[in-house]
């Protein structure tokens, strides 16, 4: 007998102004409690989703984010809490904006491809320039066109970086080291990238031939959906010291943001793992509340194969972002008739928001533990002095890049000590959807969306104009609400606000 909405609410309890607890019993077999971070606006969306789901008996429909956070809390070997970040929304298996850590040394702990997502190592990178808004305003249409001409976007596009099967094997193993060797990246780029742009556990032999075949033509392509490249202007600096360390010195400074992932290769690695793990789950008798939460013991063959394949796909994603960085630098250099060096187009940072990583964390009892941290639609946000962040950011904390949605602002945050304690050094990743795609298509008109962007003075180049309403700002939660919640809750700190002047999309 399904519970009513009021009965469900008994399991949800307010902790403070910015967070709520999901108590054990909300779904069966919860090993730990759940928590989610929201402000008053975002809160309404979360509860509405739950209410709608209780009305909806059986056919069609989907699980609300709160239920998914709780289902993750029921997975074997989970430690701490299953965390929903302010941009959390319903996904498949794990919610999007969901962080969960598993004890790497617990023989019963699991790894789940659903906790990483299909787009392995989808992430955001930010480049700075020494240009000002005055320099780019008169050029923005030309710049947008130049970027659009350089970077292949949308369904059915093929990469322009020459690549054969052997190159791909090397790229999967070496990540950004491959890009540097081939001359697509600057040597200093990798300093400002999570894991220095290379997962050492990567094993290309754990990536199926089919995945490689899907990945080969797509290297250096942006893809579609919510992926984009944007030219942005520094709109606000909240933390002058930290911004200065990133080379962001004044309002009106021009930056370039690239948001994309591992394309078909990553999707195939995830799909292959789901199929393999389904069998392993039966064999090892792992029970989950949702079929999409397919998982395997970390130390089983399937678990290790997935981790090695996932790392290879992560390397592919870094090579992909590096290739597009190369193309963006070329586009700028051509437009301004100079070199990327003279434009000071350095990489500020590169974050991964769909990934699982082995990390050391201090538990609430003061003991250090090795954890496998799944971040799906969540960004790592390490505090100042953490050994895994680059020298340049030792005093500020790790830069956290939060991409907005088409036409809205983006933010740079920094990691905090409190985030390290509460969320295993994790924070939000973007706006998070509020409207479903189908609803967006019904309620919003694509040419109105494009007109609206033009009115705001944003140049836009898009491969599938008829689908822009799905990605329209109104389809998403307000990114400002999301980052302000993270800041108020103390899990990361506001640093810089950016607004777009040109958008390139699939």
């Amino acid at each position: 007998m399904p519970r009513t909405y009021d009965e469900e609410l008994k399991f949800i309890e307010r902790i403070n102004n910015h967070s709520w607890r999901i108590k054990k019993g909300f779904v069966p077999n919860m090993n730990v409690e759940g928590v989610f971070y929201v402000n008053s606006h975002l809160e309404k969306l979360m509860f509405e989703e739950l209410e709608n789901a209780t009305k909806f008996g059986g056919i069609g429909g989907f699980l609300p984010g709160m239920k998914q956070i709780a289902n993750v809390a029921a997975l074997p070997g989970i430690v701490g809490r299953s965390v929903g970040l302010p941009d959390v929304h319903s996904g498949y298996g794990f919610a999007i904006g969901n962080m969960a850590a598993f004890d790497y040394n617990d023989p019963k702990a699991i790894v789940s491809p659903g906790g990483v997502g299909f787009d392995i190592n989808c992430g955001v990178r930010l480049l700075r320039t020494n240009l000002t808004e005055k320099d780019v305003q008169p050029m923005k249409e030309q710049l947008a066109q130049s970027m659009f001409d350089h970077i292949p976007v949308g369904v059915g596009s093929k990469g322009v970086i020459p690549m054969n099967a052997k190159d791909l094997e090397e790229a999967l193993e070496m990540g950004m080291d491959w890009s540097i060797r081939e001359g697509y990246s600057w040597a200093e780029d990798k300093e400002h990238c999570e894991e220095y742009g290379r997962m050492l556990q990567a094993d290309p032999t754990k990536v199926s031939q089919r995945a490689k075949k899907r990945g080969l033509p797509q290297l250096g392509t942006l893809g579609a959906g919510n992926h984009y490249a944007e030219i942005q202007i520094v709109d606000e600096i909240y933390d002058r010291f930290a911004a200065g360390k990133m080379g962001i010195d004044f309002k009106g400074q021009v930056c370039v943001m690239i948001h994309c992932g591992s394309r078909g290769l990553g999707h195939q690695v995830a799909t292959d793992a789901l199929v393999a793990m389904e069998k392993a789950m039966k064999r090892d008798q792992i029970q989950t509340n949702d079929r999409q939460l397919a998982c395997a013991l970390i130390h089983s063959e399937e678990g290790q194969d997935y981790l090695k394949g996932m790392c290879a796909a992560a390397n592919y994603a870094w090579v992909n972002r590096s290739s597009m960085t190369f193309l963006a630098r070329q586009a700028f250099a051509r437009c301004f008739n100079t070199t990327p060096d003279d434009l000071d187009m350095h990489l500020i940072y590169d974050v991964s928001h769909n990934i699982a990583k082995i990390e050391e964390h201090m538990m609430s009892d003061g003991k250090q533990k090795t954890l496998l941290v799944h971040r799906k639609g969540a960004t790592r946000a390490f505090p100042p002095h953490h050994p895994l962040i680059p020298v340049d950011y030792q005093l500020t904390g790790q830069p956290v890049l939060i991409g907005g949605t088409m036409g809205t602002c983006s933010y740079v945050l920094t990691g905090t000590e409190q985030g390290m304690k509460e969320t295993f050094g994790s924070t939000c990743h973007g706006a998070g959807r509020a409207l479903s795609r189908a609803k967006s298509r019904r309620n919003l008109n694509w040419y109105e969306v494009l007109d609206d962007l033009r009115e705001k003075g944003i140049a836009i180049r898009v491969a599938s104009p008829k689908l822009v309403q799905e990605e329209a700002p109104d389809s998403y939660k307000n990114v400002t609400d999301v980052v302000e919640t993270c800041h108020a809750a103390g899990i990361s700190k506001l640093c810089v606000k950016l607004r777009p002047v040109a958008v390139i999309k699939g």
Partner: protein, 179 residues
Amino acid sequence: MSKESENKNQDSNIEKNQNEDEHGPSASNEDVTFDYPPIKYEYLDHTADIQIHSWGDSIEESFEQAAMGMFAYMTDTDLIENRDMKQIDIRADGDLQNLLFKFLCEWLEVYGTEDYFIPRKIEINLFDRNELRIIARGYGELFDLSRHTQGTEVKAITYSNMQIHEETSTHDVYVIVDI
């Protein structure tokens, strides 16, 4: 079906405006009309992804429609011409849901690995529910940026809330694809 008649079938429906040189002997079949199936799928509300709901007079038809619905989200399939055929032969372990998952994955992988081949019509030739095996053919062509429109890319098929309702007369199938 013999190899020869299979070939004939595959090329029998070339549209009239196509160049004979380019398509060789098959162009002689240009008067044969190719009947595209009616649309029996729709896209339902889902926050992040797309839920495809398809139906049909048989479970086979619902499966076919779900796959065609997936491709119709990636491009306007009305612009896809019948120039090429790909066949798949798959087996699954488990139940009908595993079979549907595998069936859709296979088509997505054909698209991803065969130079972006997009079928407009998909036909199931063999549906063995005991062995969980499907042999199916897709008729369409390679995606061409100069002639086709770009929709949104389907990244993967999910089991999330997958439903197969054999008990209903419309054999409803629900599947969420990640985009």
